[in-house]
Amino acid sequence: MSTRILIADDEPLYNRLLQINLLTEGYEVITAVNGEEALEMITTHSPDLVILDIMMPKLDGITACERIRQFSNIPVIMLTARGEEHDRVQGLNVGADDYIVKPFSATELLARVRAVLRRTQTSRDPLQSRFFTHSNLRIDFARAEVWKDDKPVFLSATEYRLLIQFAHHVGQVLTAEQLLVAIWGPQYREDKEILWVSIARLRQKLEDNPHSPVHIVTRAGLGYLMPPNEKEFVKGEPT
């Protein structure tokens, strides 16, 4: 099976440029014109590598990369403009594997693609699911959406990130400190109260009975966990 590469750039001439060069190397190439389309295509076409332009309509490359990392370890190369160091740093921070600065030469592009594929091929887990379910709860990582009993639940950015922490560590007890550092940052290490308030709010939104939670459970003296017993991963499309 040949290596499949997804290109996402809103400039058709860049898509074409990348495509013709990658095709000569025997890669299979698919293209998207914005971040939303790229995320959809990752889940439907399972590419082996994604090349994301940063400046794209609908969903920019940085946000798209951040969302990809919620459910997938697929290698990502960012395309950035010269002089935008800030973008490059941000891209690497949200989990990109490398970046290519425009204008670039065809040989540089191919060399970087080869290098990233070589680096990542052996050490990566296979693609995880875009969807996560926990009894009546469903998360769509690609769209950053949460559903309860097939009804959308509107979470704040902080609430969503908190929920993702639990979803990524099902069955593990997470301490208050771990959660505070992961979501609010190290300076909030001691700030237990904001975590309590956020968990209470999350339970209000997600639990049938917030006083007897099933999704986010308190382990007295230890921390919180999403219990494993009802966990099930659903591959592909939601039911």
Partner: protein
């Protein structure tokens, strides 16, 4: 200066008034009207005749009177009264409350010359922001309760003064940031516009040059066509930037001669059709039309710009171009039935680097085209204006006089950049 010797319970009138003062502080955002409201409340619980507020002057080199009210004895005395300036400076230096209790007074005149003075620093977070001086002509002496009430009032006023200062600072920082943002927008527009064609030229050239691959004829043609077109685009951008800089600095040479607008327009339309084969243009020309005195190359540039704007921003729309004969001038109209321009952007569209923010991300452009049009039209002593309705379309009107004024240089006058 006296220390409060013991804690005393304030009578309820005083509590009520102190509460009312703190309410004024939270409701009124400027310290001057706030002080006007506080003074009667304060005076009911603390007797004083004059109140003066001193704040550092803008160079921070000394105190300046910022507010003064005569509310009791001495209303008629005016500048001859004591205003506590020495006390204020002393308090500002030391940061300590200052209390001046004169010898028991004798005559009315002596009372006015040797008043009771209470100087209170306005202190916030260890920073002295100013001094408030209470002046009383005649006894009784200020008690320690009086001092505490005055200190409370001073703290409240200090909060307000600081609040107002911070707000002024925020406003000036905002203005600076706005300026910086405009500058940044310009730089990022220009660099994006320059780098995009450059990126394609670099990318497709190096694709052709790849040592490990040979391309067939149709690929080679495709890549070379892209390189050719992107080179033109880069050339156009650089020309626009140079033109706009020359027009801005008034160094654009103009070759005036009689120009037949209908013939000029036909040339422009013909050239546009080479690249846009499906372009629908209707012309509507008064006949015969007198020639205008103008620079044919520059006027063609104006027409090309307006036509290419219609193609870019009103895709698929028919463009109606009319030339109408008026008494001393020709009236040219470019009309499309595209999406139109929202009213709030219309006053700005002839400004240098301005772009409709709703279109800017989707359509290539530098924000120079209409600016150049306006400069060229004005160099012909003409006028250009726009009319647009969202959902209906946009019309550009150009008025060009048949004759140019006899005198004057053939260089563009420096533009009045504030005109919009």
């Amino acid at each position: 200066m006296t220390e409060p010797s013991s804690v005393s319970v304030l009578p309820s009138v005083e509590l009520d008034n102190l509460y009312a003062i703190s309410q004024v502080i939270t409701r009124v955002s400027h310290w001057k009207p706030a002080l006007d409201q506080i003074i009667p409340l304060l005076r009911a619980i603390l007797i004083f005749d004059n109140l003066v507020l001193y704040l550092p002057n803008s160079e921070e080199k000394g105190l300046e009177v910022a507010y003064a009210r005569v509310v009791g004895r001495g209303r008629s005395a005016g500048p001859e009264l004591a205003w506590g300036e020495t006390v204020a400076n002393q308090v500002f230096q030391s940061g300590q409350i200052y209390l001046q209790q004169p010898q028991p007074e004798k005559t009315v005149e002596e009372r006015l010359n040797f008043p009771y003075l209470l100087g209170i620093p306005l202190t916030l977070h260890d920073r002295i922001m100013g001094v408030m001086v209470f002046i009383r002509f005649g006894g009784p002496a200020y008690s320690s309760d009086n001092t505490r009430v005055a200190a409370f009032a001073a703290e409240q006023v200090a909060e307000l003064v600081q609040h107002q200062q911070i707000r002024q600072q925020i406003e000036s920082i905002e203005a600076e940031r706005q300026q910086a943002r405009l500058q940044e927008d310009f730089i990022s527009t220009i660099s994006h516009e320059l780098l995009t064609p450059l990126g394609f030229i670099k990318g497709y050239t190096t694709t052709l040059l790849r040592p490990d691959t040979s391309w067939d004829e149709s690929n080679r043609r495709e890549f070379l066509t892209i390189i050719d077109e992107e080179t033109d685009r880069l050339q156009e951008l650089i020309d626009n930037m140079l033109d706009s800089a020359r027009l801005q600095s008034g160094t654009m040479p103009m070759q005036f001669q009689p120009v037949r607008l209908d013939a000029l327009l036909k040339d422009v339309i013909m050239r546009a059709r080479v690249h846009h084969k499906t372009l629908q243009i209707i012309t509507n020309l008064d006949n015969p039309i007198s020639p205008v005195q103008g620079d044919p190359q520059r006027l063609a540039q104006v027409f090309e710009n307006l036509l290419s704007n219609a193609i870019k921003y009103a895709p698929g729309s028919t463009v109606v171009i009319s030339i109408r004969k008026e008494e001393n001038r020709a009236h040219i109209i470019f009309q499309d039935n595209g999406p139109g321009i929202p009213a709030q952007y219309l006053p700005h569209i002839f400004e240098r680097f301005f772009r409709n923010p709703e279109q800017a991300p989707n359509v290539r452009g530098t924000g120079l085209g209409l600016y150049i049009c306006r400069q060229i039209v004005e160099a012909h002593h003409g006028e250009i204006s726009v009319e647009s309705f969202v959902g209906e379309g946009t019309s550009f009107h150009i008025y060009l006089p048949y004759e140019q004024p006899k005198k004057g240089s053939h260089l563009v006058k420096k533009s009045h950049s504030t005109k919009s």
